[in-house]
């Protein structure tokens, strides 16, 4: 019976028919999606912290407003991604609990510190840029609610990317100190941004199945290559050097060659030992715990109001 169902399911996928919440789906498909969508939602929420770190120190009012609005967009993305995950039969509370207890992962990039204003630009350019590379194909992901959420997320992300790049462009035309700030920031964020595409295809445990299910459309290495190719010209316009001595055009491949990623660093951060892993989770847990009395009050109030209405009716 399940075999028949599974075949019908795979046929649908192969014909590019979207899977919707009420459709039958294999348990592992459901699990894989919950894992991926919730990781994505957590990344948005934890991702608010490194940029939120500069909200009170933005260099002028225009930038302050733009940064606040950007971080708010991320909260919004988190909200509809949690909602998309909930269509698969999990609750937001359970997912948040998994984040707080370290069971669920989020994008490792947010475990790096933002130590200068230039980081607000670099995060937009490189981090949001890498996220877009990863996410645009997800707009055609086989699961309907996720694909639809991603359409909106990607629109906003590409706005963020342009905004980040524009911050850097301004620095590149500024004083010596601003140019240094820019180069230093690119030095720190370049390699972690390349790591955002995940391990090489041969070391990526979930990739093959995700491709068959059309949750994923391109391999980690393919997307990483595309990203590098796109960044080189953008770096030239900014007048910054990408910190990779092996980066050079390969005529034969029609792509840029680039150096080996430090996979030890990658796994160190993924396993929870990056520069900010502890801080990030502690901050999220504190916000959640400090807010408990507020959430309880809202629930109690809503219950009282409902009872009052009942009495009137």
């Amino acid at each position: 019976m399940d075999n028949l169902k599974e075949k019908a399911f795979q046929d649908k996928i192969d014909q590019d028919t979207r899977i919707e919440p009420k459709d039958w789906m294999p348990e592992n498909y459901r699990k894989a999606l919950i894992r991926q969508i919730s990781q994505h939602a957590h990344s948005e929420i934890v991702g608010m912290l490194p940029e939120g770190n500069w909200v009170t120190r933005a260099p002028n009012l225009r930038r302050k407003v733009a940064l606040l609005a950007k971080v708010q967009d991320e909260a919004g993305h988190g909200l509809y991604l949690y909602a998309a995950a909930e269509t698969l039969g999990v609750s937001r509370d359970d997912l948040i609990d998994q984040l707080h207890t370290g069971k669920a992962k989020y994008s490792s990039i947010f475990n790096y510190p933002t130590i200068s204003w230039a980081d607000m630009g670099t995060i937009g350019w490189l981090v949001d840029g890498a996220a877009i590379m990863n996410q645009v194909p997800l707009c055609r992901c086989s699961y309907g609610p996720y694909a639809r959420a991603m359409v909106r997320v990607c629109k906003e992300e590409s706005f963020h990317q342009r905004q980040g790049y524009e911050i850097l462009l301004t620095l590149s035309r500024g004083t010596e100190a601003q140019k240094q700030m820019l180069q230093d920031s690119v030095n720190r964020w370049w390699w972690p941004s390349l790591m955002m595409f995940g391990p090489s295809d041969s070391d990526s445990p979930h990739s093959a199945q995700s491709m068959a299910w059309k949750i994923k459309r391109f391999s980690n290495d393919e997307l990483r290559q595309r990203f590098v190719d796109a960044c080189v010209d953008q770096a030239r316009i900014l007048g910054v050097t990408l910190p990779d001595p092996d980066l050079k055009w390969n005529e034969e491949r029609g792509h840029y060659d680039f150096g080996e990623i430090d996979w030890d660093e990658f796994w160190q951060v993924v396993k929870g030992h990056g520069p900010c892993n502890k801080d990030r989770i502690e901050t999220r847990v504190k916000a959640y715990e400090d807010g408990a009395w507020v959430r309880e009050a809202a629930t109690a109030y809503a219950e009282k109001q409902a009872k009052r209405k009942e009495k009137v009716a």
């Binding site: 939120g52 606040l68 909200l79 301004t170």
Partner: protein, 248 residues
């Protein structure tokens, strides 16, 4: 330049900026995702309003920009209300601070949007819509917290009590306020009783007790601030002070 009018506009801008800055500190730390988003929205409204006021002030003072007012003035040059620089502490204090101010802010904007100064009335008309929402947000939360759990009741009552002495400053006129009353009929003394009635009604509905005190806290409009404003400006102005004369 009309010094009184200019000071008045700066007073409005400073109120918006400092409260907006305080609320923006919540960004990423809210008690629940939806409230995080709502607080950020409100912070954005306030900072947006500050920009409109500072831009207007800059038209009266050749060579100045909005950022000069925000980033290059000292504590004693800031004219915001003392209440607005008080720390967020917890969600209850944040709500209490906004609740008292939002209701006052709406009353002021109602007068300003039909006052004879066209520039100010245009800004006020736009801000009025935003602040109507702020009032709904903060008063709904006063009710939820007041009539929620025992703990939330205790916490919001404490916050309302602690911040109440600062509300006297809303109605204690500065020279700029006196000028606005004489020239444009923006008369604070007429707003005081309206404010009390509105606030008291909501506090009562929230099953809370209206605080009273004979000891007001005054001075913000004259630049006599609490110790907290200096730290706000330290963060706010860090980049402009560290890298002067740069374009961002």
């Amino acid at each position: 330049m009309n010094k009184d009018l200019h000071n008045y506009i700066i007073q409005l801008g400073d109120n918006s900026l400092i409260l907006g800055h305080r609320i923006s500190e919540w960004c990423g730390h809210g008690p629940v995702l939806e409230q995080d988003i709502a607080l950020t929205n409100i912070a954005l409204d306030h900072v947006g309003q500050a920009r409109m006021y500072y831009q207007l002030a800059a038209t009266m003072e050749p060579g100045k920009t909005e950022d000069d007012y925000a980033y290059l003035r000292t504590v004693t040059e800031y004219k915001n209300l003392l209440l607005l620089e008080q720390e967020n502490k917890d969600f209850g204090y944040t709500i209490a601070r906004s609740f008292y101010y939002d209701q006052f802010h709406l009353l002021i904007l109602r007068v300003l949007k039909s006052c004879g100064n066209k520039d100010l009335s245009e800004i006020a008309a736009q801000a009025y819509k935003e602040v109507s929402y702020h009032c709904r947000f903060s008063s709904d939360w006063v009710k939820r917290l007041g009539d929620g759990t025992e703990e939330s009741h205790r916490r919001i009552q404490r916050a309302l009590d602690e911040f109440f002495p600062y509300t006297a400053e809303f109605f204690a006129p500065s020279e700029a306020d006196n000028y606005m009353a004489g020239k444009y009929g923006v008369d604070l003394s007429k707003l005081s009783s309206q404010w009390s009635v509105i606030v008291e009604n909501i506090v009562r509905e929230a099953t809370l007790t209206m605080p009273t005190t004979p000891y007001p806290q005054l001075g913000g409009k004259q630049g006599r601030h609490s110790e907290k404003l200096g730290f706000i400006l330290t963060e706010l102005q860090y980049m402009q002070r560290t890298y002067p004369n740069s374009t961002w």
